[in-house]
């Protein structure tokens, strides 16, 4: 699962290539723990956490929303086996999250770490372009701070 391959000795530390935009967020982004403390908010999780969970679910499901439904179509011979998989299968995402959580993002708290890992996995696969992501983040900041 590591970018450098993982066929060598089991004790070898996976080597993940840092992604500049994510490193920038890791270094300078303010985590929920700090924000909640500063603004006196008691929610244990940031407001975007459930949306992040929604993204993870939707990515592993694809547009069909249901592995069971896809499996039935496959068994019926209507689709290929490969079409059952979402863009980012759950197990692959979780394993990469394990590895990234112990390497590049080990000092980032949860769930910020989960978000960085997800973004890293998407960029690594080319599902999200790094430059597009950087540009969109600027746009989102401008939009949300417009009022």
């Amino acid at each position: 699962m590591a970018e450098s391959g993982n066929s060598n000795a089991a004790a070898e530390v996976p080597k993940w290539t840092p992604v500049p935009i994510l490193e920038e967020i890791k270094e300078h982004g303010r985590v929920w723990e700090d924000l909640a403390s500063q603004y006196g908010v008691t929610n244990p999780d940031p407001p975007w956490k459930t949306s992040l969970d929604g993204i993870c679910e939707a990515l592993s499901a694809g547009s069909c929303s249901s592995v069971a439904a896809a499996e039935k179509r496959w068994l019926d011979g209507r689709v290929d086996r490969s079409s059952m998989d979402g863009a980012l299968p759950l197990l692959e995402r979780r394993w990469e999250e394990d590895e990234l959580s112990e390497t590049l993002y080990q000092d980032v708290p949860f769930p910020e770490r989960q978000l960085l890992c997800l973004a890293h996995s998407l960029i690594k696969r080319g599902l999200v372009n790094e430059q597009d992501l950087a540009a969109r983040m600027i746009e989102v900041h401008e939009r949300l701070n417009a009022a």
């Binding site: 004790a11 694809g62 112990e102 960085l116």
Partner: protein, 220 residues
């Protein structure tokens, strides 16, 4: 109210918008999954246990057909979202503790969890450290949660997977005689349902647990 937009908030929005534009999923799918994530929590599982403590017939149903029993606490296990789910929630089992047998749940592979009835996993449940060490040294790991079981109590670790999820039905604690279902539900915490704590009168919260790095890196 937090009056600033963090980079993490912007990142979540940016990733979501780009994914939808690329066709990785639809906005409608995301909306539905997020609504599901918003409304799940541990209360249905706690109520299931409380009901079982009060009703021997319901308890039998829980142990023989947990999927049917979960309907009584408002969870349609086979179709929890009403529109489908990406995970195969094929089976749900309730693990009954006895005075000499204690169960605790883990997912050694990733972080499989009975979400429709118990909500999202706590952070520590997701960590390789918990997942690896619990199966090797369950008694020691439980002690780290403050649960020191006598040597005569056998500990059974149940490994969740894509096809089967578990919740623990602890022994009803002393001092709860005459309690209502609502009262009992309050003391069946998430930690009790995973098996890292035991219910007791007056205890209605979970223990915050420090998260530790594993000694060796994950290598899948």
């Amino acid at each position: 109210m937090v009056e600033e937009v963090s980079d993490f908030e912007a990142l979540e929005i940016a990733v979501r918008e780009l994914s939808i534009e690329k066709g990785l999923f639809t906005a409608e799918d995301h909306r539905r999954f997020t609504e599901f994530a918003e409304h799940i929590g541990p209360t249905p599982a706690a109520r299931l246990v409380a009901k079982a403590w009060l009703d021997p017939e319901y308890k039998k149903l829980c142990l023989t057909d947990a999927i049917k029993a979960s309907l009584a606490v408002g969870v349609d296990w086979l179709n929890p979202t009403g529109f489908g789910t990406p995970s195969d929630y094929t089976d749900l089992r309730v693990l009954e503790d006895t005075p000499t047998m204690h169960h605790v749940v883990v997912c050694t592979l990733c972080s499989c969890y009975p979400r429709p009835i118990l909500g999202f996993q706590p952070e520590w449940y997701r960590t390789p450290n918990y997942r690896r060490r619990l199966v090797r040294w369950p008694r020691q790991v439980l002690a780290e949660f403050g649960l020191s079981l006598p040597a005569e109590v056998e500990i059974r670790v149940e490994d969740s997977n894509q096809k089967c999820r578990f919740i623990v039905m602890p022994v009803r604690p002393a001092g709860t005689e005459g309690w209502t279902e609502d009262q009992l539900t309050e003391i069946v915490t998430r930690d009790c349902l995973i098996g890292v704590a035991l219910p007791r009168p007056g205890m209605t919260t979970n223990i915050p647990l420090p998260v530790h790095q594993p000694a060796k890196p994950a290598h899948h």
